[in-house]
Symmetry: C2
Subunit: 379 residues, 2 copies
């Protein structure tokens, strides 16, 4: 493994805020505090504090976007291909921040965290949070890091929703945004796919209405939800390229065990997911995505003028967040006189393309950031 | 309700065959008998016995394709819009036959039938059947009805697979075939979608490894499988047109109950399905589809020449059986010198279009049948 182009060993960090009586007020009307966000940073904040980029992770991601947590780790962070010295998000130039979302299960406060008033995991008593709540929590972190204005907020999928939400919530604090493979609002098909995932979890008797922490995860239901997800992350073509109709053994089993490689792959990915992701977080985060809607006047409330620069990226074979949804973002931006560049990348990888089409993304992002930095620093 | 253009009251019929020691030999190598097929007929077989059309139903369909079973029935058979006096399949001209598939749960022998050697439901001891086995069972029925050569075999989705299989198994007995919204072989994406449906059923503890008949269906798992199915039957656009982001109540619940109309619809369709469809049949029939593969030389084994005329119909928004799969059928037919007409119908209904795009289908099918009948009767 070539680690020379890598940020190397990184350290998970934790920021706690909103301790009572200063709790966060959530969109649902409830209050929550104290709140912890797990985060990592790569590169250095410059003296002008104008080189900070906030990286937003997708649904099942975490704060570990680049580098290695342990010297013996086999795999680096989830976007290591784009974050590092000389890469698209060049850590020699920029200061990168990635935080696990509110409601998540990788170090940030979520339904698997302990409710301080009971000393037991929240489970379903955790408030239903929104993408706006996630961004509000991040805003506390950005304040804490002493950053007034972010050079860029970037993310794919639900990460892109957070990038858009930053502009809706704090446009004056975002010089640029790169929403990738995302949407202004979840469509009924996207809601439907999330709902079957939730139903899969909740139909599992081991889910116990969310109170499973003493007994172990609702393994079958969560694995099933993930299997459904994986189908939506790939394309018809990428599945054909990867699996075709290849059999696991030489002939049909004439039973209900896995005959085809694609079946074995899905089961493997489903089972793996159960080891690392909390079933209740699955429910909460998909609900936040379904509630997400910045269409109409919601991206620019109060008729405000926005100076954030946009780079919008979509992928042609992505059927989960189809390119037309990105074009709707571009259309909205253009009608409001906002500077926006749109690129639809040819790819057969489906939604996963935002993690895989590195060369194209690097080219687009590098130039966009360079130009944005010139604008910000008055160059 | 206007029943004037309808075949009226119809009677379910049952045909039993392959009683021991003359059992059917199945693709898996096992033998099965006696076998019952439930079927219905509409119109009359003419004296030349050359006006018979076999209608093949889709995955969750049944033999009740047209008319009413009871005078008070609210809904007619599943393809009543196309079958009846003056309709595409004109019962004044043609003799229509529709049978429930082998492995089904609507009157034909399947896993919920009694195993004659034990007197108990087969459950998972029922042999895994293939589309070729289904067609072989139908061939017995067609023999029984005294029909040498079918004027046409027609069906959508898995019904189209059976139409193709008829040509592969008995080309000399099929004057024409109309495969609609179907494929030569299940792709890995189609297999993957079937597999998550099966896993949903099998993950339900109430499934009891298929031995649930004394206790009731694995309700949650089967409903979940159907919910997944329903998403694939519609298109992104048709879901937007039907549901958009409409809420069931005035505001978000901030809970995990159904917020959106689309969620309520899916749950309703899932729960309804459980009342009418056997969970084990769900497993068996999806497996038969996944095993289906008439690509390469399998549609025309032994380099045979085939005189069957084809009309292939696909729908542009169908992403479960995309139009490219129909074009692959056409390509194969053309390379083998087989007469084939292809029509890709503009539609936003997704896969469901084969049940809904009546006007276009009527136009195409009516002319194709008229011409085929001329050819068959030497006109």
């Amino acid at each position: 493994m070539n680690r020379s182009q890598n940020v190397g060993l990184v350290k998970p960090q934790f920021f706690e805020f909103a301790a009572p009586p200063h709790e966060m007020k959530l969109a649902c009307g409830r209050k929550l505090g104290p709140v912890t966000l797990a985060y990592e940073t790569y590169g250095k904040l410059n003296e002008s504090r104008n080189n900070a980029i906030l990286v937003e992770h997708a649904f099942s991601g975490n704060a570990h976007a680049a580098g290695y947590l342990h010297p013996k780790d086999k795999h680096p962070g989830w976007w290591d291909t784009l974050i590092g010295p000389g890469k698209a998000f060049d850590t020699n130039r920029y200061f990168l921040i990635c935080s696990n979302i509110l409601g998540g299960c990788s170090g940030s406060t979520g339904p698997s965290s302990l409710n301080p008033s009971t000393g037991k995991p929240w489970g379903l008593s955790f408030p239903v949070v929104t993408v706006a709540d996630m961004v509000e929590a991040q805003r506390h972190l950005i304040d804490h890091l002493g950053i007034g204005k972010l050079l860029c907020v970037v993310g794919g999928s639900m990460g892109g929703m957070q990038a858009l939400q930053w502009v809706a919530s704090y446009p004056e604090r975002v010089a640029s945004a790169i929403p990738i493979a995302t949407t202004l609002k979840h469509s009924p098909q996207q809601i439907a796919l999330d709902e079957v995932g939730r139903q899969a979890v909740m139909a599992d008797d081991s889910w116990r209405h969310g109170n499973y922490y003493e007994h172990g995860q609702p393994r079958k239901g969560l694995a099933l939800a993930r299997m459904i997800g994986h189908i939506t992350y790939m394309s018809d073509k990428s599945m054909e390229d990867k699996f075709s109709r290849n059999l696991k053994d030489k002939s049909f089993s004439y039973s209900f065990s896995s005959d085809f490689e694609v079946e074995g792959y899905l089961r493997y990915r489903g089972d793996n997911f159960v080891k690392r992701f909390d079933a209740n977080s699955y429910l909460y985060i998909t609900k936040a995505m379904d509630y997400f809607d910045l269409s109409g006047d919601r991206l620019f409330p109060d008729g405000r003028t926005v100076h954030t620069r946009f780079l919008i990226i979509a992928f042609q074979s992505d059927w989960l967040y189809p390119a037309y949804q990105s074009r709707e973002i571009v259309h909205l931006l253009k009608t409001r006189g906002v500077e926006a560049t749109y690129c639809e990348i040819k790819s057969t990888y489906g939604h996963d393309a935002f993690l895989l089409e590195i060369e194209e993304e690097t080219h687009l992002i590098r130039h966009f950031l360079k130009k944005t930095f010139q604008v910000v620093s008055g160059g």
